[in-house]
Amino acid sequence: MFDLFAEMWGFAFMRRAFVATTVLSASVAPVGAFLVLRRLSLAGEAMAHAITPGIVIGFVTAGLSVMSLLVGGLIAGVGVALLTAFLARRTILRSDASLASLYLIALAVGIFILSAAGSAVPLKSFLFGSILGIDDASMLLVGGVATVTLVAFAFLLRPLIVSTCDPIFFETQTRRPWLVDQGFMLLLVLNLLAAFKTLGTLMAVGLMILPATAARYWASTITAQLVLGFLFALASCWIGLTLSYLFPETPSGPAIVLVAGAFFLFSAIFGPLGFGRPLRKRSAAKDLPLTQIHQEESAK
């Protein structure tokens, strides 16, 4: 065991990968928690696909630099978010259907350009991540995004809690409720970009959603949800990276997400809010549907 770690630690790229994913875990955990709580889990996945053309166009035109990744991804992500809001407000489609339509177009555009350009980057590492790809600039990107995210959360946490728990109450309490929504979407896009190198576009959301849903089975408070989510994400990264190292053909993204998936399954089975205990005690007769009470009465 110790030998394995000593061996892994011997490689500069593994050291980078461990440090980058540790910082990344701290950054994506709060975003993931609120994706789940705000019932945006699937929207997060869609957004991950939606930023693909931005990253690809940035890559094709400016090469694989952090700047091209950041600028392209941000333009695509924010563009899709705004277009989704526009479609949902001005046409019959709801926001989920609008987002689904747009992200599919965006993903197709991205993969089309990537293939047509005959790219030097293998598609696999683009979609699923690679631990080999983490250079100094990527480290800076992850660190920068984590800093922005954690500082933003210091200000956004309470508004996010109130607006998620009771959106109508929140609307009555503030003049610009949309600031919180849009600010959160921006943080989501930034974190997807930060996670892109290690996890790839298809797996980036996995590190947000699975640790958060796993934590949800144990946590009854926001604090517990955030802390546990971070710990699950961190453990998933470390174990996943080790797996990816032991099996050199496996991309790091699926390895990390598989471990997160194992935490999720374990939590669903044993967590106090999972199958471990029913969601609510059903002792009081007044909570039963009326028909059921009548049936029980007539059965006596």
Binding site: C165, F169, T172, T221
Partner: protein
Amino acid sequence: MSAVLELRNLSLGYRDLTLFSRLSMDIQAGSTLAVLGANGSGKSTFVKMLLGLMDPLSGSLNWPKGRPAEIGYLAQMTEFDRRFPIRVRDLAAMGAWRGFGHRFGLDNAARDRMVSALDDAGVLDIADRPLHMLSGGQLQRALFARVIMQDAPLILLDEPFAAVDQSTEAHLLSIIRRWQDEGRAVVLVVHDLSSVLDHCSHALLLGGREATHGPVNDVLTPDRLVAQGYLSESQAAWMFRSTPPTAETAHV
């Protein structure tokens, strides 16, 4: 009594649907206004307009003492996410949102106020319980604690008794009575002609593109309830019959 809010020549509705037009009335401090009407008559829309979440089609809202910084508001329970992982005390603390803003926690004075609000609403003993473990009545009490924390001169409650049992309803009504005694104005959306009306001084009946307001007994007459589509004629005749029929109750 002084008016908290004066509605003048108010028309309310959506782009191609006018719910009512030219309503002029005052909402008085220390009064409780019941808002009644059939489904779709605009009860909730009226409340959202008072909150400023919606503009009237025409007319004006005048606040003689200025628009209060805080308007107490309780939406219908169906619009609330009960699985959100916070405790009863956190929910109540949201009522002090403007006091602590988005950065800082509650100070000691606010904490004391929260404890007394939880106590008044009858949920102090379950203050640390997460929301998903509450019954409908307990959740509504917790939400009342939040309204108490808001400490607002105008309080809007949208069908607050829809999912609570009788004893909880009685308790919550006593809180409303106290707000009234403290000189706050309460606007209460109710869905049926229930005993709740005994606690209201005024009524606003919506329906049939009209809005009728005044003291409860003047507004809720059989003829008017039928005219505004709230009751059918036979329902009105039964409800306002002179001698109630004697009934036998089968006990279980």
